[in-house]
């Protein structure tokens, strides 16, 4: 079997379970909210239009943005009320997806009730049914096919959109898609897509069975469909119910690129060897990752000193590496209770890089040289770079202005450079592709870009656990830049690719 397919399939069960639980819960909540709202609104023209309009408005917000918005919203809610709702993972994903599923359920629910024959309603009143009896004996049974069609639509949408829950730290089939996209592992991406599509088709098929059963008034069909749905949800629920008895696992976070997957994998391995049960939260945005750690939603991840310095502390100056790390250690501990365990030994700095031949032809060796010709050149950056303080710092220090600047995910960013659609990239110094593609990183004589030592951060909870710190201590100072580059390139190269877990194992085998 293809190794990346084998690795994707091995990762599948917990992701599928998370996906089923999340989308199942979201659909149930949407039904529990949507049907009463539909009942309430069906007979009230003044409520109906604004309500359906509002649900429609939610629908027009891109699902990814809706998910992302609930993270800061929950953090603010926690801060305002002193509650401690988890702002990352299941809860924000659940709220966003429930809202997303509301529209078809609400709209079909209202249509079902309004489409009933008025004579039947008059008869129901005439024979002396109470409001409740009319609802359960007449309106719901007769409206059921249309109501169920709405639930089917919601189910298919929700299962598809749940892949995006990965971005707020909730494991889902999206993990395979996002990590596969980052490491150019298309088999992994396809496995994630296929699993999500299959799940949606199965859910749709089972609901169709119930719908047909209701339309034909066939109890066996209804019970078969409903029974299988309940069975599926129960199967997803059971293993996690067993696991929860063992206490909360250590949650290892990772941002959305290969190096982070490899290091998170290495950290998980070390903690596993020390007897800890671990969970992964992959593909976290830069800003989300640190806040998630401070809030205790994740327990350990790797970040970079320059990022923490500018983004978390909001500093503009660029002190020497050691001074920066000392100051960070002190401030993060005092402010958030976060422990900076130590530096891994390599730097993953933002650097501006060009193809060697192109740089030579234009006579560029430093960013200062680049600034002279930049107005004729195109910059390809990762998705964050242009919005980061580092870019503003380097741009203002050198008066840097490009003819065009485009954002890509890191994989496609290098492609843009090799196929000639960009001249300069915002590279990462530890990226294996810098050497592999024969790129030159431009010198920064004005020291506008801060230092980016990779450091292990521990949440307030993990900071109190001496055994945990001891398990990770062997990594500190033991990963030089060349080795990290090589590990990164194992995952990022086009042929003979390794999975992040394999690269992590290679990295650890070089430490022991």
């Amino acid at each position: 079997m293809n190794p990346s397919f084998a690795s994707a399939v091995a990762d599948l069960p917990p992701l599928l379970r998370g996906h089923v639980l999340l989308s199942g819960a979201a659909i149930l909540i949407a039904v529990a909210m949507g049907l009463p709202l539909a009942l309430w609104a069906a007979g009230r023209a003044r409520v109906r239009m604004p309500l359906v309009g509002l649900a429609g408005l939610i629908q027009t917000v891109p699902a990814l943005a809706l998910l992302a918005l609930f993270y800061p919203a929950l953090l603010m809610f926690d801060r305002a009320t002193g509650a401690s709702l988890p702002a990352l993972g299941f809860l924000p994903a659940l709220i966003a997806l429930s809202l997303y599923a509301l529209l078809p359920i609400l709209r079909n629910g209202i249509a079902a009730l309004q489409g009933l024959d008025p004579a039947v309603i008059e008869a129901a009143d005439g024979v002396g049914m109470t409001r409740r009896q009319r609802l359960f004996l007449v309106e719901l049974p007769l409206g059921a096919p249309v109501i169920l069609a709405g639930i089917r639509t919601a189910a298919v949408w929700t299962i598809g959109a749940a892949t995006l829950a990965t971005t707020v730290g909730q494991p889902s089939l999206g993990n395979l898609i996002f990590s596969g996209l980052q490491t150019e592992d298309w088999v992994r991406v396809l496995t994630g897509c296929a699993a999500s599509v299959a799940l949606a088709l199965v859910a749709d098929g089972l609901l169709a069975l119930v719908e047909t059963g209701v339309a034909r008034r066939s109890k066996p069909l209804i019970w078969t469909g409903a029974g299988l749905i309940v069975l599926g949800l129960a199967a997803a629920l059971l293993p996690s119910a067993g696991a929860s008895e063992q206490g909360r696992p250590i949650v290892v976070g990772a941002k959305n690129f290969s190096e982070q997957y490899i290091l998170a994998s290495a950290i998980s391995d070390r903690l596993g060897a020390a007897g800890y049960r671990t969970e992964r939260r992959d593909d976290l945005g830069s800003a989300v990752a640190y806040r998630a750690l401070a809030a205790g939603d994740i327990d350990v991840y790797v970040d970079y000193t320059g990022t923490l310095w500018t983004n978390v502390l909001g500093r503009r100056d660029t002190p020497p590496a050691d001074a920066m790390r000392v100051e960070l250690t002190r401030r993060l501990a005092a402010r958030d209770g976060v422990r900076l365990l130590g530096a891994l030994g390599f730097e993953n700095a933002y650097a501006l890089a060009m193809r060697r031949d192109r740089a030579k032809a234009l006579g560029i060796a430093s960013i200062a040289d680049l600034a002279r010709v930049a107005p004729r050149l195109t910059l390809a950056s990762d998705i964050e770079f242009l919005n980061r303080p580092e870019w503003r710092a380097v741009a203002s220090a050198y008066g840097l202005r490009f003819a065009a600047a485009r954002s890509y995910n890191p994989t496609f960013m290098y492609r843009a450079l090799t196929d000639g659609s960009a001249d300069v990239v915002s590279a990462f110094s530890s990226d294996g592709r810098v050497a592999a593609l024969d790129l030159v990183t431009l010198a920064d004589p004005k020291h506008a870009l801060p230092n980016y030592d990779a450091v292990i951060l521990l949440s307030p909870r993990a900071a109190k656990d001496a055994r945990l710190a001891a398990a990770l201590q062997p990594l500190i100072g033991r990963i030089p830049i060349a080795r990290m580059r090589e590990a990164n390139f194992m995952v990022d190269r086009d042929t003979g690719k390794k999975t992040p877990a394999e690269a992590a194992a290679w990295l650890l085998s070089n430490i022991r």
Binding site: D117, V120, E122, A123, G126, V127, G128, L137, L142, R217
Partner: protein, 257 residues
Amino acid sequence: MDDPDFLRLDGVGKRRGGRLVLDGVSLSVPAGAFVALVGPSGSGKTTLLKTINRLVEPDTGTIRLDGKDVRATPAPALRRRIGYAFQGIGLFPHMNVAENIGIVPSLSGAPAAERAARVAELLDLVALGPDFAARAPRTLSGGQAQRVGLARALAARPSLMLMDEPFGALDPLTRDELGRAYRALHDRLGLTTIMVTHDMTEALLLADRIVVLIDGRIRADAAPAALLAGHGDEAVRALVAVPRLQAERIAALGARP
């Protein structure tokens, strides 16, 4: 049976969208009477009928059934004691004929065996065979469906039947046949019936007493014979004249050589 005030309406008024639909209607119906409520479209006859089982709540006035204000009983409980049949019939499409007929006993919590016996009895009463019990409403003809509608209305052994154009959508033959059949049931079961119709012929032939409603007011209240003899004002006489003139023209057609 002989209660002269079995059903009594006093000053019943209803305003809808600024228009006075019912303008202080008072009416007393003795037990066992068959009253036809007639009038042109928009005269308020359906609204008046529906105030009796509280499908419409009047703005003013009181309605007493058996001496008791209908508002003293919760609407669903009141309606279960009053038979209601209307032009739309409104059989429940997801229930078979037996379930439709047995709905009121089932709402009141009657045991299944008692319900089944009652359904058989009612099918017989409306002249439908026992094989109809398991049929779905959509398989019935219009006349059969209204027979089931009548059986459903009679299921709880009501003493009062309210009927709103019950035979209005049927073909003339079925309509005549069902009208007679119902009149026979009315007499046999000792019912009190209020039937709304815009068909004066039907009213004259079926009812003991005809109440003419025009613009929300009672303009005539008399036995069919008295109306035919010219009772009432000009508008009432014009309504009664239609069937009589039609009958004379038909008779004249037959008399021609």
